[in-house]
Symmetry: C2
Subunit: 240 residues, 2 copies
């Protein structure tokens, strides 16, 4: 069962991206859309608010809703919402391979608790993986999972998709992800694992992930080759 506002959102989004509603044009008015979808204007408004929050449109009081999305060329390795490495690679139509380096158990020390946000003493499963994009060693992925919530991780699972395992097999719902982006000097491990050729720094994304119970079950550090990294967000001056 899919929500109406979500269907309207996706419909409009597709029409914006395919150019049916080009840059600087106006969407149909709320009342027209409400009539088209035979729903209330509030439901239409919700879909439009989502588009505005994504930076696709700009509602102008008394005038209409203007499209401000400009189709851009494919970016190196764009990161947006919460999505699997696999999903991102497919969206970018790139050939992606994952290689598992190690899987180990550990107990959370005080200093790691401070860094990661896990409770001291809890058992975590530490996974190290390399991501290859079109043959290039591009991303060194270091994940820590609360073993209690994500048990029995195997190399086979880690090589395929841990998220598919979490959401599919375990039936857990991934909900909120908080990430921080920095640029850092390359470490020895980076130089050994990533094909840096001439670069001596990496783009680092640190990630705290929560499930639908509000429990942080994953802490991740992804160390990216600068050539294959770009990160886009939209900020709004006023709350919608």
């Amino acid at each position: 069962m899919k929500a109406i506002f979500d269907r309207i959102y996706n419909d409009l989004l597709e029409q914006i991206e395919t150019g049916k509603y080009p840059y600087q044009s106006f969407l149909p008015s709320e009342s027209e859309l409400a009539k088209d979808y035979t729903c209330s204007h509030n439901t239409v408004r919700r879909a439009i608010r989502l588009l505005a929050q994504g930076g696709y449109v700009q509602p102008i009081n008394g005038k209409g809703v203007r499209v401000i999305w400009l189709p851009v060329e494919r970016e190196a390795f764009k990161i947006g919402g919460i999505e699997t490495f696999k999903e991102a690679a497919r969206r970018s139509s790139l050939h992606a391979i994952t290689k598992v380096l190690s899987i180990e158990h550990a107990s959370v020390t005080e200093s790691f608790a401070c860094e990661s946000g896990f409770p001291v003493g809890s058992d975590v499963t530490h996974v190290e993986r390399m991501r290859y994009i079109d043959g290039h060693a591009a991303i060194l992925d270091r994940n820590w999972y609360l073993t209690e919530l994500v048990p029995n991780l195997t190399p086979a699972i880690a090589e395929d998709s841990i998220y598919a395992y979490i959401e599919g097999t375990l039936g857990m719902r991934v909900t909120t992800s908080r990430r921080t982006f920095t640029a850092e000097k390359a470490l020895k491990a980076d130089r050994e694992a990533i094909d840096l050729d001439g670069y001596d720094f990496v783009a680092v994304v640190t990630n705290h992930t929560f499930n639908d119970d509000g429990i942080m079950f994953e802490y991740t550090q992804s160390r990216h080759h600068p050539k294959h990294f770009s990160f886009t967000t939209v900020a709004l001056r006023d709350q919608l």
Copy 2:
């Protein structure tokens, strides 16, 4: 005139940040909040949705709204929503100084139009500035403004705050900002202007800013010293 949902949002946000509703606790239920603020549950829901989108809380169907915000130590130079360099510096309680390097006019060439998104041939005002944080040359800011919408820029304005000029004097409303992050090798200009000491790369933020008419009036490239840069966002798996 302030919206009710905005007041509730700010109230709850403050109580979360000051620890009145600590990490992992639950907010009062919708109906309680609606009674407290003497408003409808829809208005409360809107405030809660904003908190969820900001990564502060996690609503759990049938249970309640759990706080997932953990007060963190002050970061080097955190960038969040749309805000002035001045605002960000004050929030981080850092001493910030701006020095204007140059202000020039130019006509948008085809290649720059492609990079920036400005229409070919339009007149832009190009401003170059250095930002000093606690005495360190930290950020090289390169801004381009549509001269038609942001006229008469002077060194005095650029040294104070161009945003204050735009929103105050010109009365224009800044609404949506789309930004992209990358990490890049330092250019000659970076090494000359920024106090890189040992680093040979910069964190780059590219920015497209729209006003409330949906017109892109600003294109910016901020080149940050890696030591003084960090950026955090929240991604949600499902639309709210």
